[in-house]
Symmetry: none
Subunit: 223 residues, 2 copies
DNA sequence: CTGCCAAGATTGCAACAGCATTACGGGGAT
DNA sequence: ATCCCCGTAATGCTGTTGCAATCTTGGCAG
């Protein structure tokens, strides 16, 4: 569980981080909206705790910006500006909850828990070829319902082929998919991977075949 | 938009219904939890507004009953019982929000709108793998019916793995789950945690194994 | 039809990066 | 004062992977 805390009172921030840490929650802390934005793009937070008065602006402006960037992490506004109409303002700008300072850590925790019970739904897309189910985001491959534990390189090859199933993938494209710029290969390493992958797919009865097109590349086909 | 209002003060209920009606919101109203339960089964509400002190009991008891019946409708508790710890109690019983009386109708509306923006589905609060029961929100881990108390970091690792049981979790994802960006690690601390966690899981006969995928990450499997 | 050659397939092997385990000690909590 | 957590580092281990040697296949020309 990981939160982003955007708060300019250092003492409060430290106290909160400590309290949350005891509850098994990892907290990143920043004072600046600009930093916060970068952090949300780099990490995946379960929720965001947001102060309003910040050195580089009104915290509430952060929420629409976040939403426009396609981030739908729950946001809990945490502020001394706690008049009813200020709360309305915050909520209508997209906040999911609004808690006035001072507050009990227990209440904060309970409200965070309430938010976490309704996590943003992300549908994980899954490529299907033959009996294979491939989750490219998470590097998982099932054959039927049996998990295949593929080594990294073979996995990358299979992924690259599956992403364009039925269509030819250039040899050079495959190489790019498996090796980054620093790792150059001076041999038939790719062929070796293809071969080993073929064997594994056959053993696992995956219902797919890797075809070769001379001088061009490879393609993945259902049997 | 259709709400269920469970409230015993008639004047308040009428005033609210009228106000909501002006916003184009249809409101069903009842005083009794028993009636409310029937109504939720017969109709599909967008949200439920719930008082605590009701003629036939404590309103909060209604929420677990609802959830057990498989109803995920957001619940907003609306009550004069507005001490912080009372709010915690309500939220932890499954309420999605908690608003003390007296309140502005505008704020109620804003909070309802906020609820409606969230996903209508609730997440399982308990993850089960092998003989393990993990409640990530309350830091409980049971192996069978024996409580395991794991050190914080090991718990975080286990949580991260269990949340995606059977699927690969990238090493970097695990690191993110355990350390914030200030706590950088310069060693194999994560490996050490994995190793200790494995030992503990084996001793506790947890019925799960932590697998490694070289160069990629780890995953949790039932035995 | 046949022969030749280049591209691909396969596989053993050795090297090494990545992992597992464990002991140690500092530091925080009880 | 004691206990335990946890980061560190040393040690040993192992699976993956790049390489190369060898065999197979396919395409093309004569």
């Amino acid at each position: 569980m990981r939160l982003l805390l955007i708060e300019d009172e250092r003492e409060l921030a430290n106290a909160l981080s400590a309290a949350l840490s005891k509850q098994g929650i990892v907290t990143d802390h920043t004072l600046y909206l600009a930093d916060a934005f970068e952090l949300t793009l780099q990490n995946k937070y379960d929720a965001i705790l947001l102060d309003r008065r910040l050195p580089d602006g009104e915290g509430l402006t952060f929420i629409p910006k976040l939403r426009r960037a396609g981030v739908d992490t729950p946001v809990l506004v945490l502020t001394a500006r706690n008049e009813p109409m200020e709360r309305v303002e915050g909520l209508d700008l997209g906040a999911d909850d609004y808690l006035g300072k001072p507050f009990l850590v227990e209440e904060l925790m309970a409200r965070v828990r309430a938010l976490l019970r309704r996590p943003p739904t992300l549908e994980e897309q899954c490529i299907r070829v033959g009996r294979l189910h491939i989750d490219p985001l998470h590097l998982d491959v099932l054959s039927g319902s049996v998990p295949l534990d593929l080594p990294k390189r073979e996995l990358l090859v299979l992924q690259a082929l599956a992403k364009r199933k039925g269509k030819t993938v250039l040899r050079s494209t495959l190489e790019d998919a498996v090796y980054n710029y620093e790792e150059e290969i001076q041999s038939n390493a790719l062929d070796a991977h293809i071969s080993r992958l073929r064997k594994r797919l056959a053993e696992a009865d995956a219902g797919v075949t890797i075809h070769n097109i001379r001088g061009v590349g490879y393609l993945l086909r259902e049997e």
